[in-house]
C-alpha cells in the first residue's frame, strides 16, 4: 500500500512557516465564534501537526507557551491549555514515528484520539476547579479537528513542496 503512494522529497521547513502557521491558528481561535464548543481547536491541531512532522523543532516548550497565550486570550484558568498542550505535544512526539506511515484516514483517527485526549484534560482541570460540565457537544470540536487533518496537512506542507528551481514549463 505504501509503495503505491508517491513519496515526495520535501524541502527543509522554514522557521517562518511554523511561526506564521501558529499565528494564523491563534487568529482562527480568537475569532468571535458563536458556540466555542463546536469549533475545532486550531492551535492544538497545528501543534499536533508540527510535533508529528518536526519533533526536533516543535515540542513541549512551544506547546506550553501557546497554551499560556490561549489561557490569557480566552480568559480561562491560567495553565489549563498549557497543561493540555504539553501533554498533547508529548503524545504527538511519541507517536510521530508511527503516524506518518498510515494513510490519511488512519492518521486522522490517531489525531482524533490526541485531540480528544487534550480536550478531556481541559475538562478534567475545570471540573476539579469547580466548573459545570458543559455537555457532550464539547467532543464535536476535536472530531471536526481530526476531519480537518488532511486539509491542514496539505496546506502546511505546501511551502515545502515547492520546487527548488522555478521551471517556467511546470504548472505548480
Amino acid at each position: 500500500m505504501l509503495a503505491e503512494r508517491p513519496q515526495y522529497i520535501l524541502l527543509p521547513v522554514k522557521i517562518g512557516t511554523i511561526v506564521i502557521s501558529f499565528v494564523a491558528a491563534l487568529l482562527l481561535d480568537f475569532l468571535p465564534w458563536k458556540d466555542v464548543a463546536l469549533v475545532p481547536d486550531f492551535v492544538a491541531l497545528t501543534l499536533t501537526f508540527w510535533c508529528v512532522r518536526q519533533p526536533r523543532l516543535v515540542g513541549l516548550g512551544v506547546g506550553w507557551l501557546l497554551g499560556l497565550i490561549m489561557d490569557t486570550g480566552n480568559g480561562v484558568l491560567l495553565g489549563q491549555h498549557a497543561l493540555a498542550y504539553s501533554l498533547l505535544a508529548f503524545a504527538a512526539i511519541t507517536l510521530s514515528r508511527r503516524i506518518l506511515w498510515f494513510p490519511w484516514l488512519h492518521q486522522a483517527m490517531h489525531v482524533a484520539l490526541l485531540l480528544i485526549g487534550a480536550k478531556s484534560v481541559e475538562v478534567l482541570v475545570r471540573l476539579v476547579a469547580g466548573a459545570q460540565f458543559p455537555g457532550w457537544t464539547i467532543i464535536v470540536g476535536p472530531l471536526l479537528g481530526a476531519v480537518l487533518w488532511p486539509v491542514v496537512s496539505f496546506l502546511l506542507l505546501a511551502p515545502q513542496r515547492r520546487p527548488v528551481e522555478i521551471d517556467e514549463n511546470r504548472p505548480i
Binding site: L31, G73, G79, Q80, L83, F90
Partner: protein, 307 residues
C-alpha cells in the same frame, strides 16, 4: 523513543523529563491561579501579547458590520430615526422630571444630613467577543485599565444588569455574565422589598434565588432590582423577573427561577457603572463574612424581612 540516542547527538533532556517539567509548571500555575489569585501579573503581561491577535481576529466581523451598515436601506434608516425621535421626546420628559426629582431629593437629603447619593461614573464599552471558554459565561470588552475600568464594576445595557467586570487587563476587560455559575448578585423584590441573592444557573441562561424559605412571599412575575447593600452594584437597577416557583413541602427552600431582564447574551454595546458608595467599615466585633467580597457581591444572606 525507547532507544537512547548516542551521546554525540545533543538532543537535550528526554521527552519524559520535559513533560514532567512542563506539566508540573502548568499544575503549579493552575493552583496559584485557582487558589491564591497571584497569577494576575503574569496574566496581564501575556494578555498584552495576545491583544493584537484578538484585535485582528475581531476586525473582519467589525468590518463586515460596517459594510452592512453602509448599505442599510434608506427606509429602514428613516424608520429608525422616527422611532428614536419619538423615544427621545418621551425620554426628555422623563429626564426633566428625573432632574427635578433628583434635585429635590438632594435637598431633602441635605436637610436630614444624610450622605449625598453617589455619582455614577459610566463608560460605554463594546463587546469584542464572548469568552472562548465553554465552562463559563464571560465576555471580553474593548476597554481596560487604561480607560479607567475597575474590577467589580457593574455592567448594564439599556434594560438592566448584564454582569460584572471580573478581570481587567490594560486594554481589554472581562465581564462575567449574571448567568455564570459562580456569579451572584444581591437583589430586592420591587413589590415588597424582600431581599435575596440571585445566583447564575450556568448553562440554562436563567438566575436562581437560593436559600429562600419555602413560604417566602414571592410570586411569579415579581420584578427584581439590585438592592445596593453590597456597595458594588448601584441600587435600583433591574435584574430579573421571577418566572417559576417550585415550593416543595419536603425541601426547606423554595426553588425560584428568574429570567434576566437585560439581553444578557444579545447586546453589542454595554455600559460599565462604578459607584463611590461610602459604606462605613465592617464592625470589628461582628462576625466576619465567610469570604471577603472580591467585587463579586457575595454576601451572607440577609434575614428575609420585609420592610
Amino acid at each position: 523513543m525507547e532507544h537512547t540516542p548516542p551521546p554525540f547527538f545533543k538532543r537535550g533532556p528526554a521527552p519524559l523529563v520535559r513533560l514532567a517539567f512542563f506539566a508540573s509548571l502548568s499544575i503549579a500555575l493552575l493552583v496559584i491561579d485557582a487558589r491564591f489569585k497571584y497569577a494576575e501579573i503574569l496574566r496581564s503581561l501575556i494578555a498584552v501579547a495576545a491583544y493584537p491577535l484578538q484585535q485582528v481576529a475581531t476586525a473582519p466581523g467589525q468590518f463586515a458590520g460596517r459594510i452592512a451598515g453602509f448599505f442599510a436601506s434608506q427606509s429602514a434608516l428613516q424608520q429608525d430615526n422616527a422611532e428614536l425621535r419619538a423615544k427621545l421626546v418621551s425620554s426628555a420628559q422623563d429626564a426633566q422630571r428625573f432632574e427635578a426629582t433628583a434635585a429635590e431629593l438632594e435637598q431633602l437629603r441635605r436637610l436630614i444630613g444624610a450622605q449625598g447619593r453617589m455619582d455614577l461614573k459610566s463608560t460605554a464599552v463594546e463587546v469584542l467577543y464572548s469568552g472562548r471558554d465553554p465552562f463559563a459565561r464571560k465576555l471580553l470588552v474593548d476597554k481596560g485599565a487604561t480607560h479607567g475600568i475597575l474590577p467589580g464594576q457593574a455592567v448594564i445595557d439599556e434594560t438592566g444588569v448584564v454582569g460584572q467586570v471580573t478581570r481587567v487587563h490594560p486594554l481589554v476587560a472581562e465581564v462575567t455574565l449574571l448567568i455564570d455559575k459562580d456569579q451572584a448578585i444581591p437583589v430586592q423584590v420591587v413589590r415588597n422589598g424582600l431581599r435575596a441573592v440571585a445566583f447564575g444557573s450556568g448553562s440554562a441562561g436563567t438566575l436562581e434565588l437560593r436559600f429562600m424559605a419555602a413560604n417566602a412571599e414571592i410570586q411569579n412575575g415579581d420584578k427584581l432590582v439590585t438592592s445596593g447593600i453590597d456597595g458594588t452594584y448601584p441600587p435600583g437597577l433591574p435584574v430579573a423577573t421571577v418566572v417559576r416557583i417550585e415550593r416543595d413541602a419536603v425541601a426547606a427552600f423554595a426553588r425560584i427561577v428568574c429570567q434576566p431582564a437585560a439581553g444578557v447574551e444579545r447586546n453589542r454595546y454595554l455600559l460599565t457603572l462604578s459607584t463611590d458608595a461610602k459604606l462605613p467599615p465592617y464592625p470589628e466585633d461582628a462576625a466576619q463574612p465567610e469570604r471577603k467580597g472580591k467585587g463579586k457581591g457575595k454576601r451572607k444572606k440577609e434575614s428575609a424581612d420585609a420592610r
